[in-house]
Amino acid sequence: MLQYTLKRILLAIPVVFFISVIVFYIIQLPPGDYVSNYAAEASVAGEVFTQADMDAMRADLGLDRPVYEQYFIWIKDIVFYGDFGFSFNYNKPVLAVIEQYMGLTLTVSLVTMAFQYLVAIPIGIYCAVKQYSIGDYFFSGLSFLGMATPHFLMAVILMFLSYTWFGDPLLGLFSAEYVNAPWSMDKAIDLAKHMVIPVIVIGLSGTADLIRVMRGQMLDELNKPNVVTARAKGLSERKILFKYPTRAALNPIVSTFGWSLTSIFTGSTITAIVLNLPIQGPVMFNALLGQDMYLAGTWLLFMALLTVLGTLISDILLAWLDPKIRTEFRGT
């Protein structure tokens, strides 16, 4: 098992390297650079920016060097000093910016993830056991709708409903009076209230997907001969359901833990923009548009790393859950 894990990690290293190259290439792609953007904004504000000013600023930020040199400096600093560069927009190290938003991002993501699994698994089991019942049709229809509705609009619609029903669109993650307040019980409750819509919206498509996977898996498992065997042994239906089909159907579901966090992380971006959430999505989106290249690059790299890591975790979980693979490592 350990050997397998190590092998997988080693295989991931070259992938990560290539990803970092591509990331850097992509963030260079948009026309112009941070300086030209900055100059354009400044001139709108009435400031005059000469070519000399721009060159000086470039030299100051290290943007005058060849692209590959910029890349190596960036990578060198990451590997040796854990320094991911400097955010021009925030005038802070990239890490500081990320740190600022990470806490709430993780909170929203983890709550969403819990929501997904806690809602989807029981519904999936129910739909399979009561196949073709009204409840099955209801949830299947709902999950189809969930998959077909773009996140961001779902967010707008829920905000609208919340506005008409409760008189508060619940924008952001905190009410105005709590944004800068120290942590307290009231602030936590306020946060919880504001998290309802984001969690539903971000978790919706994942939940819909999981319900369908769980239902399909359960249907497969319910028809397996081992269920008949269990019945012939005299087990009660409830015991059979949880011991055999559910346990087997959970395997592929549990293995989605790995990448589900990643997909929540990235999937939340647009929703966060619409709902004005103080989490990393919108920040990074603006960095991407504003050519705040180290911030955007770090974010892309981070997301890619999360994906690689997620897949790794999923594979390991899957291997660990499957007796066939597990016993191989036991060395019989």
């Binding site: 707008v156 619609i157 989106f285 997301m303």
Partner: protein, 378 residues
């Protein structure tokens, strides 16, 4: 020896059972597909949607550039048969719009002007366009006489007819996923097929490339690449870029499917038999391997379309996809981003309905095809 005997038996079987019940694979799929009611309905709906996109310029009363500041944010008009005096008209008509101000909020509001009645007319002359992009024409299916206006689904913040824009936007929203999936289908088939069939170092290289591309989370990659598209370029080129981006990300999934199928099929007895018999690679691929999973691939492709539609909508919504003067459903939905807009002008959410309808129908169609193509299901 035993293997060979088995293979012989398998080869002899079809000859023995030349029976009406043993129809071709496609015919079987067709028969099973016909039983899937939801998928059949979806196919019809999709056909209508695509026909609408094809003839959008003809079906829409107004063109893309048509706007009128007098009718900003006008609500949908009702097609009426009975007028204010209770008289029935065989020809449907709309009332003109009268603008006024809400005495409390001081906001501009529109009311029906029962003085002005415009009958709905068919085949009216209007703005010039090219029918199917080729034949110059100025005939529109429906319209009303000037100075009347026909806003079946209301107007946007610039006074443009939403109904026309939804139709014209569907040309982009419905074709991007199709073209994108088409390109990724071809890429996936060729690259995945080569990887699976030839194996060896080629397979290793292709697998690493796919792994790297797949390591990128889709959405940020989309965003990053879309952000790289220069803002002021011709619509056609923008369209082209977006399609390429979608195809570039999507092909890897299909390639993996193809590779997996190739690997599992290439060791099947009948393929090994063909190889031993000296059949050429191309012929083995085309005659023996492709038919084994092409139906599966069609299903996978169909099911990839909804994701692309949603992605295009999201990108355009963020201003990273199709941009003005061209339009798509995502662009139309930009106005629905603010809740005040939805509260005051609820018709702006209508394009959402078309997005959901399209995604749902593609999902149902894909499900129907999958059930029909899967011989191991009931």
């Amino acid at each position: 020896m035993r293997r060979f005997g088995k293979r012989q038996a398998a080869a002899a079987e079809p000859a023995m059972d030349k029976d009406a019940n043993y129809s071709s694979q496609w015919r079987l799929i067709y028969v099973r597909f016909k039983k899937h009611k939801l998928a059949r309905i979806s196919l019809v709906v999709l056909a209508l949607l695509y026909a609408g996109a094809l003839f959008a310029q003809f079906l829409a009363p107004y063109g893309l550039e048509n706007y009128d500041s007098k009718y900003v944010n006008a609500p949908p008009m009702k097609l009426r048969f009975v007028d204010a005096e209770g008289k029935f008209h065989i020809q449907p008509f709309v009332y003109g719009l009268k603008s006024g101000r809400d005495p409390e909020t001081m906001r501009k509001v529109f009311t029906s002007d029962t003085e002005k009645k415009y009958s709905l007319q068919f085949f009216v002359k209007g703005e010039k366009y090219k029918f199917l992009g080729l034949v110059p024409s100025s005939t529109h299916l429906i319209g009303v006489k000037e100075p009347g206006r026909l806003f079946l689904l209301g107007t946007d913040a610039l006074g443009r007819d939403l109904f026309s824009r939804i139709l014209l936007g569907s040309q982009v929203s419905l074709s991007i996923p199709l073209v994108g999936v088409g390109i990724s289908f071809v890429l996936g088939l060729i690259i995945g097929g080569a990887s699976g069939y030839f194996g060896g170092w080629l397979d290793a290289v292709i697998q690493r490339v796919i792994e790297i591309i797949r390591s990128f989370p889709t959405l940020p990659l989309w965003m990053a690449l879309s952000a790289a598209i220069p803002p002021r370029i011709p619509v056609v080129r923008m369209y082209f870029y977006i399609v390429i981006i979608f195809a570039f990300i999507e092909w890897t999934g299909l390639a993996r499917v193809v590779r997996g199928k190739f690997i599992s099929l290439k060791n099947e007895d009948y393929v090994v038999a063909a190889k031993i018999a000296g059949v050429s690679d191309t012929k083995i691929i085309v005659k023996h391997l492709l038919p084994g999973f092409i139906s599966y691939l069609v299903v996978a492709t169909t099911l990839a379309i909804p994701g692309m539609i949603l992605a295009e909508t999201a990108m355009s919504f963020l201003g990273l996809g199709i941009r003005s003067p061209a339009t798509s459903w995502g662009v139309l939905l930009q106005e629905a981003q603010k809740i005040d807009n939805i509260a005051l002008y609820p018709w702006k959410i209508i394009p959402l309905g078309t997005v959901i309808l399209t995604v749902l129908t593609f999902n149902f169609l894909g499900d129907g095809l999958r059930d029909a193509a899967d011989p191991y299901k009931r």
